[in-house]
């Protein structure tokens, strides 16, 4: 899908990023071969865009100077406490060369192993692929309904569009269904923990002489 985002080139007097954020703008940057602009975006427009796209969506940046760039998101900085967008980096890739991008993996369906009591563990949230700009997929959807306990899906088994090659090692586990811990195992682990804590309570022999010199 094609996405567009309006941006204003940051003026010298718009130096304070906090003042920009107070005014409803979000500072950002676009860079790539031969391109570098400091920008600001409308917060609401940016949040609307983020509610639709993925990290590998191709976004056309429309600058107020009339320039247009096909870009990918390189980095989004969020406030850890408020989840507010603080800053966005856009990367304008070279048009004539393939790009390497991380594409999110989305799991579809409920694994057979989960119904049997297993735990679905998504080890990789995204895989790295290489291909021409226009062919980079937004999302890789994979059906895991046939995945049973102690089975895993590897990066090499992911369905990729034509012209796109995988950069992540093909034997990397993307999602696995692991067996749940048995109650006896949990008890044993708890006992081990107590033993370890008891050992730790007496200072280690190598630590003692050093501590005494203090």
């Amino acid at each position: 899908m094609a996405y567009e985002l309006g941006a204003k080139v940051r003026r010298p007097e718009e130096k304070n990023p906090r003042a920009l954020r107070r005014a409803g703008r979000v500072p950002g940057v676009v860079y790539g071969p031969g391109v570098h602009h400091l920008l600001t975006f409308d917060r609401k427009e940016l949040e609307r865009l983020f509610s639709k796209i993925t990290h590998s969506s191709l976004i056309t940046l429309k600058l107020d100077t009339g320039e247009e760039y096909p870009t990918f998101i390189k980095e989004i900085q969020f406030d850890p406490l408020t989840d507010e967008v603080l800053h966005v980096d856009f990367y304008r890739p070279p048009a004539d060369r393939p790009v390497e991008m991380e594409v999110a993996v989305h799991l579809v369906g409920e694994a057979k192993g989960r119904k049997a009591g297993g735990v679905v563990e998504q080890v990789l949230e995204a895989v790295e692929v290489r291909g021409p700009i226009g062919k980079i997929p937004e999302l890789i959807e994979v059906d895991i309904s046939e995945l049973d306990v102690d089975e895993a899906l590897h990066a090499g088994e992911l369905p990729l569009p034509e012209g796109i090659e995988l950069v992540t090692p093909s034997d990397a586990v993307v999602v696995a269904v692991v067996a749940p811990r048995k109650p006896e195992e949990e008890e044993a682990a708890a006992e081990e923990g107590i033993a370890a804590a008891a050992e730790g309570a007496t200072p280690a022999p190598e630590a003692k002489p050093e501590a005494q010199t203090k």
């Binding site: 983020f50 509610s51 639709k52 796209i53 993925t54 990290h55 969506s57 969020f78 850890p80 406490l81 989840d83 999110a104 989305h106 989960r114 009591g117 297993g118 735990v119 679905v120 563990e121 937004e138 999302l139 749940p180 811990r181 708890a190 006992e191 081990e192 923990g193 107590i194 370890a196 804590a197 050992e199 730790g200 309570a201 200072p203 280690a204 190598e206 630590a207 050093e210 501590a211 203090k214």
Partner: protein, 143 residues
């Protein structure tokens, strides 16, 4: 009850330090689907971590997973009651994790939003600070 503490340490006792600012690391949900995030600064003791962990495990079904993202690696000393000042620093009484606002304390996977909210509530009962449930940051198209 098994309590978390370092197996061995370079020094037996530590200075208190300050609890200024927000968490610069460990402030994103990295493993599970939901994280329980601290909203205030505090020293979280090994006992509190264990109590919260037990509350989570009891609430969750077996086909879910829990990560503890903090570790009590700071020794806290205390002088005996009614002792006079001086005569050196007290003995190690407790181990704590230094937590600043924004820090993800626990992560859980394999549960729905409603159950995760219930877990966050239970955890908040066991900790001396306000916490909130936080989802892993995903863009709209990835949800």
């Amino acid at each position: 009850m098994s309590l978390l503490m370092p197996k061995r340490t370079k020094y037996r006792k530590a200075q208190r330090g300050r609890l200024k600012g927000v968490a610069q690391a460990g402030n994103e949900v990295a493993f599970g689907d939901y994280g329980i995030q601290a909203l205030e600064p505090a020293w979280i003791t090994a006992e509190q971590i264990e109590a919260a962990r037990q509350a989570i495990v009891r609430e969750l079904e077996r086909n879910s997973k829990v990560w503890i993202r903090i570790f009590p690696d700071k020794p806290i000393t205390k002088k005996p009651a009614e002792s006079r000042m001086g005569k050196g620093k007290g003995d190690v009484e407790d181990w704590v994790a230094v937590v600043r606002p924004g820090r993800i304390l626990f992560e859980i996977a394999g549960v729905g939003r409603e159950q995760a909210e219930r877990v966050a509530q239970l955890v908040s009962y066991k900790l001396p600070i306000h916490v909130r449930l936080r989802e892993r940051l995903r863009l709209g198209g990835e949800k």
